[in-house]
């Protein structure tokens, strides 16, 4: 492959889609808000639920509880044990996935029209009556511990976690949300129940439904699915205060290629400068092969397979982050080039041509996001959780196109801080 596909936080701005996508804001009889797109050409529905809070809601001393709890949601519910549940799900050819990150717990489901009610009843049982039985806890705990041990020897993971710890300190963002071997080993069933109560609640859920289901059906469907959830969960965590010192820190690890993660403070999504910053990042290190970092580090010098930067927006912190991997004897040069490019961009900004290219790339790529019911459902919850208006889609490209050269270059001067760009390098780098 010429380049690794990169998902990253692209959806932050690329959220939306085709203007023709007709989103309905439905309030269920039970009072839930659902964004719904009716699409009957294929007989299935994609449902996306996102609960705000995620692993940052771990109680003090219980790191890893929410991650382990999430892994257990598909390991038995109501009268079904793990295998009986999996057999029931497979027999319906439904798919449910449960995923948790720093800020959200996401449930993505796909189910056929022909057995929708049975599939939803099964999904409901995992959200309302998960068993968390001891045998499942021990089995999944062993899997999580195995994963933690593997991560501890993976240079990319070490780099990401070390960088997070360095900038976020004691905030939950600063530690691995899988927990440590010690913290996960110590978790009890009560801790899992507390993690469940903290995370899965009606006051923090965002809902997207796309597919073969009518507007009249959506309300009762979601009330049945989520009506019995508790009204509230744990209070949301405090904001983080990411700190940057501009230094390069090395973490020795015996491996041939060093992995570097770098960053500085970012731009909040709701800040008036966000769109300009997003466009600026496309030219700096986002998008495809055309960014300055790709051009200088890879295309001209062959120092890496990939170098990227992106605006990482978390609920409680905004960071302008990036990564690069380069052989131990070349990574120092790669880092020097990145620092130079960061400074050059801060000082002189982009050219009119670069701004135009970034705009046409972003506005043209916009409709490509809407490539299926599942991706659209994902976008709908993303829009809601970011607080976007339902008509945002129709205005989004105008907002991109409204950014001027003066504005983007002012944003480059004011927001890029080359002297604060901090690197964490894992490997055996020479000359650092």
């Amino acid at each position: 492959m010429k380049a690794l596909a990169l998902a990253l936080a692209a959806w932050l701005i690329a959220l939306p889609a085709l203007a023709e996508v007709d989103i309905k804001d439905v309030t269920t009889p039970g009072g839930l808000t659902v964004w719904h797109v009716e699409e009957h050409s294929i007989p299935f529905t994609a449902l996306e639920l996102r609960f705000r809070g995620g692993t940052s809601l771990d109680a003090p001393g219980k790191r890893g509880a929410i991650n382990l709890m999430t892994g257990l949601l598909e390991e038995g519910a109501a009268a079904l044990d793990a295998r009986a549940f999996a057999k029931a799900r497979d027999g319906l050819a439904a798919s449910f996935s449960y995923d948790v990150g720093d800020d959200t717990l996401t449930v993505s489901a796909k189910f056929l029209t022909e057995n929708r009610d049975e599939a939803l009843a099964l999904l409901r049982s995992t959200l309302v009556e998960p068993s968390f039985n001891d045998a499942a806890i021990e089995r999944v705990r062993r899997q999580v511990l195995s994963g933690i041990r593997s991560n501890e020897k993976d240079p990319s993971n070490i780099a990401g976690e070390s960088f997070a710890k360095r900038i976020y300190g004691t905030h939950p963002y600063g530690s691995d949300d899988s927990g440590t071997v010690e913290s996960v080993t110590a978790l009890t069933r009560d801790d899992i129940l507390a993690a469940f109560a903290a995370t899965i609640a009606r006051d923090r859920v965002f809902i997207g439904v796309v597919g073969d289901v009518t507007e009249a059906e959506v309300g009762p469907m979601l009330d049945t699915l989520l009506g019995d959830l508790p009204a509230t969960g744990a209070p949301l965590p405090a904001k983080a205060e990411p700190a940057f010192d501009g230094k390069t820190t090395v973490i020795p690890f015996e491996t041939p290629q060093s992995v570097a993660v770098f960053g500085q403070s970012g731009v909040p999504f709701d800040h008036p400068d966000y769109f300009a910053a997003y466009l600026l990042n496309v030219s700096l290190g986002g998008g495809g092969f055309e960014s300055r970092l790709m051009e200088e580090v890879r295309e001209k010098r062959g120092l890496t397979y990939g170098v990227y930067s992106y605006l990482a927006g978390k609920d409680g912190a905004d960071v302008w982050q990036g990564s690069v991997q380069s052989a131990n004897n070349r990574v120092a040069e790669a880092i020097a080039v990145i620092r130079d490019e960061w400074a050059r961009m801060a000082e002189s900004g982009v050219t009119a041509q670069e701004l135009q290219d970034a705009k046409t790339y972003l506005t043209g790529a916009y409709p490509l996001r809407f490539d299926g019911n599942g991706p659209i459902a994902n976008i709908l919850v993303g829009m809601q959780i970011q607080g976007m208006p339902i008509d945002y889609i129709a205005t989004r490209n105008d907002r991109v196109n409204a950014v001027t050269l003066d504005q983007i270059n002012r944003v480059a001067r004011e927001w890029l801080k080359p002297e604060m760009l901090s690197f964490t390098v894992v490997g055996q780098p020479e000359g650092l």
Binding site: P256, Q257, E290, E299, Q325, G364, A365, F370
Partner: protein, 446 residues
């Protein structure tokens, strides 16, 4: 609990294989110069996926030039007579699209995803670089550094990837499936302009290529554009039949221990040489596809039931079969033992489970569930037209036909419990197997 799977082993993809839907809206035709064309219509969004597949991958390389197929793939993003280096991707991006390429053992493919009204521009550029590539010495030197960094990233930094590379090399005694797609490092370092151009001139021609266009397009319009841009290119008369070294009888069991200080979670893996899908004769591959699901395809599989739930000797188990290959492929099994279980004990437990499965026969309910999932996957597949484009492109690149793709779901549904056990018996032959232990430097392999 699925996250674990991806963190440990990316080689085993635990999902049912993609299938064509019966209602694909697929048209096919062949240009005068021999280039095959597949058009898949999906008018839900004004988007198109444009792909060109070459029936040439790393297994078609000459000995001593491993990695050249993939190296050339990178170099196709350099200049042509009409485009400066980098201008291809820059033009796609300026038109709001994304582009990339990938190389495998049996094929190399290039694709763009872009607004449907830009299809002509994509064809104009893609057809240009099929024949008009212009490379400089400098392109070669810089890009060679890039692919070596790619090898560092994918392989050298990962003990699991290094282990897999050694296992494949042991599995194939003669076929070039035993050589990594990215290339052996010492041969990559010596790749030059001549090697890249020799491969290009031999394999990059319309009569060795497949065009797949999927999305908001009409077959007639695609035909007209394809004639205009690809149809005018001359066929390569020297292409010849695709013939590669084949495997001799495999008569000796192979065993290996790979040690690395970066290993955190030891495991045992077993692969067997296995037949691939053949045009018009897909039953054996279909039976093996179902076998892999029943044996190690997830929570309800036999290996999970015995080793993860009952004896709890494993934290994770899986089996995997990929029949989408031109020549003999492999059937793989993996077992990640619970802490305190040695790899030797894990291997014995794995062997016991295989033996008991073949003796006990297929669980009829389990087979029924999987067939239901396969039927449903045809519905879900219609939601992702890019995946359908891949499905057809890959199939045609490995010698299958559109008919093979479209009858595959029926073939899968026709497989009986007896077919599956017969397939298992024919594949699980120790003399055709490689057993590998991945472990720490001081781990006990006895």
């Amino acid at each position: 609990m699925r996250a674990f799977v991806t963190s440990l082993l990316s080689l085993l993809i635990l999902s049912l294989p993609a299938q064509a839907a019966t209602n694909d809206h697929v048209s096919t035709f062949t240009l005068d110069n021999g280039m095959k064309v597949v058009v898949i219509e999906d008018h839900r969004a004004p988007v198109v996926t444009h792909m060109v597949w070459y029936r040439a991958g790393s297994a078609d390389e000459w000995p001593g030039t491993s990695g050249v197929a993939h190296f050339l793939e990178h170099l196709l993003f350099k200049g042509t007579d009409k485009l400066a280096s980098g201008e291809f991707s820059a033009t796609v991006a300026r038109n709001g699209g994304g582009d990339n390429a990938f190389t495998s053992y049996d094929y190399t493919a290039y694709y763009q995803r872009v607004a449907a009204d830009r299809l002509e521009l994509m064809m104009s550029m893609e057809s240009d670089r099929m024949v008009n590539l212009r490379l400089s010495e400098e392109d070669i030197l810089t890009e060679r550094e890039v692919i070596i960094e790619e090898r560092n990233q994918r392989t050298e930094n990962s003990p699991g990837a290094l282990f897999n590379e050694q296992k494949r090399a042991a599995q194939y005694l003669n076929h070039r499936y035993g050589v990594p797609v990215i290339g052996w490092r010492h041969e990559m370092e010596a790749l030059d302009l001549d090697a890249a151009l020799a491969y290009y001139k031999r394999f990059y021609a319309p009569n060795n290529a497949i065009l797949v266009v999927a999305g908001d397009v009409a077959p007639d319009a695609v035909k007209a554009l394809a004639d205009k841009y690809y149809g005018v290119l001359p066929a390569n008369p020297e292409l010849g039949k695709r013939a590669r070294p084949s495997e001799p009888p495999q008569t000796a069991e192979r065993r290996m221990v790979f040690r690395d200080a970066r290993v955190a979670q030891p495991y045992v893996s077993r692969t067997y040489l296995a037949p691939e899908r053949d045009s018009g004769a897909q039953k054996q591959a279909a039976a093996l596809t179902l076998l892999a699901e029943l044996l190690g395809g997830g929570t309800t599989s036999y290996m999970a039931e015995k080793l993860q739930f009952e004896t709890q000797q494993a934290v994770y188990t899986a089996s995997y079969y990929d029949g989408d290959a031109l020549d003999d492929t492999s059937f793989s099994l993996i077992m990640v033992p619970t802490e305190g279980v040695s790899l030797a004990d894990a291997e014995k437990a794995l062997d016991d489970v295989l033996k008991s499965y073949v003796e006990r026969g297929v669980d009829k309910e389990a087979l029924k569930r999987i067939k239901m999932q396969l039927r449903a996957s045809q519905i879900y597949a219609r939601d992702d037209v890019s995946a359908l484009a891949n499905l057809y492109g890959q199939a045609l690149a490995i010698g299958l036909t559109v008919d093979d793709v479209q009858t595959w779901p029926e073939v899968l549904q026709s497989i009986t419990a007896e077919d599956i056990i017969a397939a298992a018996k024919s594949v699980f032959k120790v003399e055709k197997s490689v057993t590998g232990y991945l472990m720490t430097p001081d781990g006990d392999a006895s």
